[in-house]
Symmetry: C2
Subunit: 216 residues, 2 copies
C-alpha cells in the first residue's frame, strides 16, 4: 500500500488517516499554520454560539519542559496500570497494535517537550450541558483543529493525562478556575507517516431504531 | 458572494461551511451515506482506542415523532429562558444572527420528526476521563460525522436538549444505563445553503505561553 501523502485536502482521506502522531520532529511550525488550525477549531459547532473556548499556544522551552515532566510522571502511573499485556485482546494483530501504541506513548513521555508547539484548548462550562455533554462545546473544536493539522502535514495527539494535575498546569500557565483544560496537544511534523488505526466495522457499532438492533 | 456548493470535499471548505442546518427536507438519505458518515465517526481519536461508542440510527416514523415531541417541549422551556432579546449582544449584526438562530430553532422544534434520519451517538464513560473530559472520546467522533455529512451535502444539527429527558429517551429506544446520549442529530438534505456562522477572530481566542498573553 502506498503511504498516505504528507499533506492532504480531501476530507475523507484526512479523516481516514488522522491518527495520533506521538513521534514529532522538533522542526518549527509556521505561524500561519498555527493560526489556520485554530481558525478551524473556531468554526466548530458550540452551544448557542457562545464560543466557550480559548487556545493556549506554548512554544516557550521552559514551559514545554515543565509540561513534559508532568506528562512523563502521569504516563508512568498510567503505564503501571494499563498496558498491552493487561488488555483483553481478541487477536494477535490487536495485541501488536496495542504494543505499538504503548511504545509510541513511551516515546512521547520522554520527548514531550521536543514538540515545537503544544496547544492547550480550554473550555468554559455551559450550565445547560452536564455529564458526558459538558465537553460538547469544546471537543468538536479540538477535532477540527486536529483534522486541519493533519491536512497541513502536522501530527497531533489528543492527550488528557495533564488533567490529573490540573492545579499544577493552572499554576504554570495562569489558567483561571473557570477555564477547563480539555486536552494538551503536541503539534509538529511527524517522524512517521499518517495512516489508519484499527477500528471496528460500522455494522458493529450501529443500531437501527432500537438499541441492539442490527441490519444486515 | 457565491453560495457554497452543496457537496464539497476540500476539508477547509467543509470546516468553513459546516453550520447547524435546522431546516431539513424530508427526502430520503441513501443508506451508503449513513454508513459513510458513521464510518467517519469511527475514525476519530478516542482513549486507548477502546471505541466507547454506539450510533443509534432512527428512521421509524413513530420513534421520530416521539423524539420530536420531547424536543419541542424542551425547546419551549429553553426558549422561555434564553432568547435573542435576553442576550448581551455587542452589535446589530450579532442580534440579527441570534434571532435567525432562534427562528431556525423554532422551525426545528416544529418539524423535528420530518428529518428522514435522526442519529443518536451514545458514549460509554472511561474512568480515566472526568469533568469536561468525560466527552473527550465521543465528541471528536460526533464532529467527524457532521463534517462528513456536510461533505456529502447533508445538513445536521448537534442538539443536546434530549439529555434533560434522558430517562424518556432511554425507555423509548432501549438505551442501557451505561450508554450516555451525547447528542440527538437530525440528518437530511437542507432547505437552505451551507455557510459560515459568525465567529470571533483567531487572535481573540488565542493566548501565547501564558493565559491572557496575546501576540500582535
Amino acid at each position: 500500500m502506498p503511504e498516505p501523502p504528507a499533506t492532504e485536502t480531501d476530507i475523507f482521506e484526512v479523516i481516514a488517516t488522522q491518527r495520533a502522531m506521538r513521534r514529532l520532529k522538533p522542526d518549527p511550525v509556521p505561524g500561519e499554520h498555527i493560526k489556520k488550525i485554530i481558525w478551524a477549531a473556531t468554526r466548530a459547532p458550540n452551544g448557542g454560539n457562545v464560543q466557550p473556548w480559548r487556545f493556549l499556544v506554548i512554544t516557550d522551552p521552559e514551559r514545554k519542559r515543565a509540561l513534559g515532566q508532568i506528562y512523563a510522571e502521569q504516563w508512568a502511573k498510567y503505564r503501571s496500570m494499563d498496558n498491552a499485556a493487561s488488555r483483553a485482546v481478541s487477536s494477535e494483530a490487536e495485541r501488536r497494535s496495542l504494543e505499538r501504541t504503548f511504545a509510541a506513548g513511551d516515546y512521547l513521555a520522554a520527548h514531550f517537550h521536543e514538540a515545537p508547539v503544544i496547544i492547550i484548548p480550554c473550555g468554559f462550562l455551559l450550565a445547560v450541558n452536564t455529564g458526558i455533554a459538558s465537553g460538547s462545546s469544546i471537543y468538536p473544536a479540538v477535532q477540527n483543529l486536529m483534522l486541519a493539522a493533519r491536512a497541513l502535514g502536522l501530527g497531533t495527539a489528543l492527550t488528557t493525562l495533564h488533567r490529573q494535575r490540573e492545579d499544577d498546569v493552572r499554576e504554570l500557565l495562569g489558567i483561571p478556575a473557570n477555564a477547563h483544560i480539555a486536552a494538551v496537544i503536541p503539534v509538529g511534523y511527524p517522524m512517521g507517516h499518517f495512516g489508519s488505526g484499527p477500528r471496528l466495522p460500522v455494522e458493529a457499532v450501529t443500531y437501527w431504531d432500537q438499541w441492539g438492533e442490527k441490519r444486515p
